[in-house]
């Protein structure tokens, strides 16, 4: 990638979810990080989107496999 002038708000917001997912190229990660460090409103927004992802992670699937299922699976393996 050629040297850039740095990302503005639009370029940052366009990449915000991919940044939260750690899925940008190394150069883009650095550029977004640099913008967030300099721009409190974008940083606030980034923290919010990260919080949404954490919400889905923590509250989306709180269930654990029931014990009888684990026992059944292990029993099947021995047959």
């Amino acid at each position: 990638m050629k040297p850039t002038e740095g990302f503005g708000c639009n370029e940052t917001l366009f990449r915000l979810h991919a940044y939260v997912d750690r899925e940008l190229t190394e150069v883009e990660m650095i550029e977004v990080k640099r913008h967030l460090d300099d721009c409190p409103p974008c940083e606030k927004h980034f923290l919010f989107e990260e919080q949404v992802k954490r919400l889905v992670h923590n509250k989306g699937c709180p269930e654990r496999a029931p014990e009888h299922l684990v026992i059944k699976i292990l029993k099947n393996l021995h047959q």
Binding site: M29, V52, L55, A65, L74
Partner: protein, 231 residues
Amino acid sequence: MEALRDLDRGPRFDRADPLEELGMLRVAPGDMKGLALPPMTPEAASDAPPEFDFEAAVQENVDALYRGALRMTGKPQEAEDLVQETFLRAYRFRHQFQPGTNFKAWLFKIQTNLYRSRYRKQWNAPQSLDDTEEFYLYQHLGPDNANPSGEDPAAEALDRLGVEEVRKAIEDLPPAYRAAVLLTDVEGFSYKETAEILEVPVGTVMSRLHRGRQRLQQKLYEYAKESGVIT
């Protein structure tokens, strides 16, 4: 390899600075220590290799497969059947697992294939989501630009959302979008791993995630309003 094993525990947002992980992101997925099968010949496939503890692999992955199956089927009994069959197949075809790759991803691939064949109608039903408003929640809950130094009201509202609202919002997504969101956001798989599990190009994963999350945010907002956790 520490970060790669963290995949198993969920999204990689628990570090303060995403850049710290950059080095790890370029590493090929996999290398789940303790889960890799030793190289073996097809003739030896019927004997479980002594180094590979399948029971431990069941214990380690059963919760993830079950919660995924539960969100996909919506019914505990069907979820149990799906998970049981997934492990049966995994055990039967364990010699096909590529050592050094991600065992959890392999299990999810088996389970997703099973889901698709059992729930063909739901999976194949017309289910494209339109582009809706970008950053729906943030636009509707905040930001409080008048008070930039104070607590973020959007963040506080989000904290009040409960398990019930989140669960319903996820289950409202069409299956193909739901699967993409569950695999990346709940299980912490990378786009590439999710693409391999769903057997679609990475670009398809990205667009399903994009639209799926837009819809999810919209639904979260609606359910939060309905239940009164936000006003």
